[in-house]
Symmetry: C2
Subunit: 470 residues, 2 copies
């Protein structure tokens, strides 16, 4: 099941790049819902999975670069544990599976880490400590990890500063997907394409959003996989992160489905489809759908190594602005409108993001490095939600997902503020206030010369979708 | 939707009982899976739900008893948030729905709490602080809550000691279920009974455990509810907390299903059923099943106010030991065997636990108070897993779930240690090493004179089950 060479190589490269010090990967513990023993489905930290492989709670990986030792720390299950969980492999077996010879208990980890922290000469004496050049760790996004760091360091701290060197080193590896990783991602995508196809077929007036969601879960539970994130399955597609499933589908509604699968090796997919509840789109729906599809194809055509994804995003934005101008909803110079951010009234988010072990890959490491190579991200409305802006390299996996959303609260606010009146025809927007939102989303691999669609194609054109509903 | 009087009364009783000081209910934030924005389905802290009603992240409730002020702290959603989440009610609206007049932002909460902590004269100067007689809080089982307490208190701490007075006061209220609460619980149970009935009908040789689990999830997603805990659905019923669903059902297997629902108001159910994959039980399976059912009925007959649940448990244990003695698996004096803990080889867990907003109700408050009224729990193997031992009162809701499990690793260990050879016929156990495990579980309300089964009856007798499989 595990190819230990992969993990040995990954850790080796990381140690070479960092050169010296101790590298700390605190794996996840269980995450409590309403008490310690009632936990969410366990999910390991993605960087831990990448370097140490095991999707189990209670493990910590440590790389002692100076002495060239890799450690896996954890406690073996006792008979009392086995009564509740069945037989569990020993820590030494887990370590061996990923090419590690040194193991220790969690008590040994405590003293190991306390020694490591106490021997550092660069720790400040005031509250707060940073992950410097002797002890490296990634940003702790779970409170349980922050607490461990506080305990090991012996410090009370509001500010916990992770190691920029480590962040950059991890990103440099994880952002370039290997062939084996692509296989995993495509497996997740193919299951998702089936889910979307089924959803397009099943939607009709009178059923509930909840009913569609039940069918999606039935599919993933039957396949023995899980969702990579909580699905969006809604007739109110203009609400970008809508997790409400209480509406009944009505004739004339558009249905927006954004869902992905996490496969057995924990690789994610992320697809969106928008389709009519009825068997055909209305003519107004076709107009807007065609504009989003043009933007989608424009973005895909621009994908290749050496291109900054920010420019791909701008191309998609200009494509949307042109289309809306033709419809009479925008006006003026398209280029100026996009630079000013006027299009963000309709497209307030990004054209895509990295994808891999995480649905937003490595988002826990910080977008500055993952998406922008250290450059500051724009603070402009719309552009500030673009998670990826940097220059593309072969091996990147990313989503393409431009969309158009008519968000009544945002339209009302901008109109009242007389914002971008040179670029937006507010009067013409009146009939669209109940339109909803449209997004298609596919996953692409950057290749040596361009980009390749990952997985089986999903229904995307108006004809594709209407044929499925026949 | 909310009856504000209920929440006002609950807080009023709590303030009366505590008399003075500040009471702190830090509500939950989102719980991150693999990065901050990819979160598990949100679940509020149950005590927060009980006193402040709202199942939303980012809220904290504070009761200032000395000045008779109740506060709800949280931040209103701005337009940027609404782009992602749709319209959200204001904090002042949420407060009003549960009868609270004073609100504040999270920044205001920070200074409020820092003032409160800094004005305490009983805080120790060394690392660690306790919830004493001026600031009360419940045990923080989520790391995110422990971090908040550390920040507010300005202390670095390994030990965080919650307030025993507050724990006792909350338990005194929550352990007595009202009629409205019983309605919620029965609603959750009735959905679960349907799920179990369907599972009994659908199991047959050749399908996978995963397939049964998929059907369970389909049912809850269709009903718009969630699981109250991760289901156990297994042909290896001897593994008590088995969450593996990879086995294919074989002719002759027993299937153990332990699952519950959390209804829209967050009340839990918890039922277990054990049934043959084939249409009928084998004669050996009937023998063991009948023993568990006798123990089950014995426990139910003993339920009434004034009886210690520990004694109900002992009755169930003696019933199991007698049955196993008749089968030749145990020997000697049944009473002595149970007092010594020999029966725990087959029944290493408890006869039941409290149930309510949590599937193990209030387990986050500590079993010492919830289950034992402050008395120390036994450390004997088996008995130490009994979550409830104290004297029953009308209004308690609890599970009844004695079972028999043949756990090969435990049998081998005890046999090698020559443990309880006066009470156990190890030689006779040989044919049972692959038997598995059996448990029935139902939920009961303690009434003025006895107990009442909650919800619709689930299939329980051998005849019930075999009729369903016809």
């Amino acid at each position: 099941m595990f190819d230990k060479k992969i993990y040995i190589n990954r850790r080796h490269r990381l140690k070479q790049q960092l050169g010296s010090g101790i590298v700390l990967f605190p794996g996840h513990d269980q995450s409590p819902i309403n008490f310690a023993d009632n936990t969410y489905p366990f999910r390991q930290d993605s960087s831990f999975l990448y370097f140490f492989g095991h999707n189990r709670p209670g493990l910590t990986g440590v790389l002692d670069i100076d002495n060239n030792n890799d450690y896996l720390f954890g406690n073996d299950a006792g008979i009392d544990d086995m009564v509740w969980t069945g037989h569990q492999p020993y820590i030494s077996e887990l370590a061996q599976m990923v090419g590690i010879k040194k193991t220790g208990t969690l008590a040994e980890l405590e003293s190991f880490m306390q020694n490591a922290f106490s021997s550092r000469n660069d720790l400040p004496s005031h509250k707060g400590f940073s992950s410097g050049n002797t002890i490296h760790f990634l940003p702790p996004y779970r409170a349980q990890t922050r607490l461990k760091l506080l305990r090991w360091s012996g410090f009370s701290s509001v500010a916990i500063e992770p190691s920029p060197e480590l962040i950059k080193a991890v990103i440099a590896q994880r952002e370039i997907k290997t062939e084996q990783e692509i296989i995993q991602i495509e497996q997740a995508i193919n299951i998702t394409v089936d889910m979307h196809t089924d959803a397009i077929r099943m939607t009709k007036a009178g059923i509930t959003e909840q009913h569609v969601v039940a069918a999606l879960y039935n599919k993933i539970h039957d396949a023995g996989v899980s969702m990579s994130f909580t699905p969006i399955a809604t007739t109110q597609g203009e609400i970008l992160h809508n997790h409400f499933y209480g509406n009944t589908l009505k004739s004339g509604d558009l249905f927006l489905l954004d869902s992905g699968v996490e496969n057995a090796m924990h690789y994610a997919s992320d697809l969106s489809s928008t389709f009519p509840v009825n068997n055909t789109f209305t003519s107004v729906q076709k107009d807007i759908y065609s504009i989003t599809l043009d933007a989608h194809e424009t973005a895909i055509a621009a994908l290749k190594p050496g291109v900054a994804f920010k420019d791909v995003h701008f191309k998609a934005c200009r494509s949307i602005a042109s289309g809306l101008k033709e419809l009479g909803l925008m006006k003026g110079d398209v280029n100026e409108a996009v630079l000013a951010g006027a299009h963000a009234l309709f497209f307030p988010c990004g054209t895509g993001h990295m994808m891999g072990l995480d649905v937003h890959d490595m988002e826990d490491l910080g977008e500055t490095y993952v998406g922008y190579d250290g450059e500051a991200k724009s603070t402009q409305f719309g552009l500030k939600s673009l998670r990826l802006g940097k220059v593309l390299k072969p091996g990147f996996v990313l989503t393409i997902e431009p969309g158009i959303y008519f968000i009544p609260a945002l339209i009302d606010k901008w109109r009242a503020e007389k914002k971008f009146t040179d670029f937006i025809n507010y009067d013409a927007l009146e009939p669209y206030l109940t339109f909803g939102g449209i997004r298609n989303e596919e996953d692409y691999l950057i290749t040596e010369n361009g980009a390749r669609l990952l997985g089986n194609p999903k229904p995307k054109t108006i004809a594709d979708i209407e044929n499925l509903k026949k």
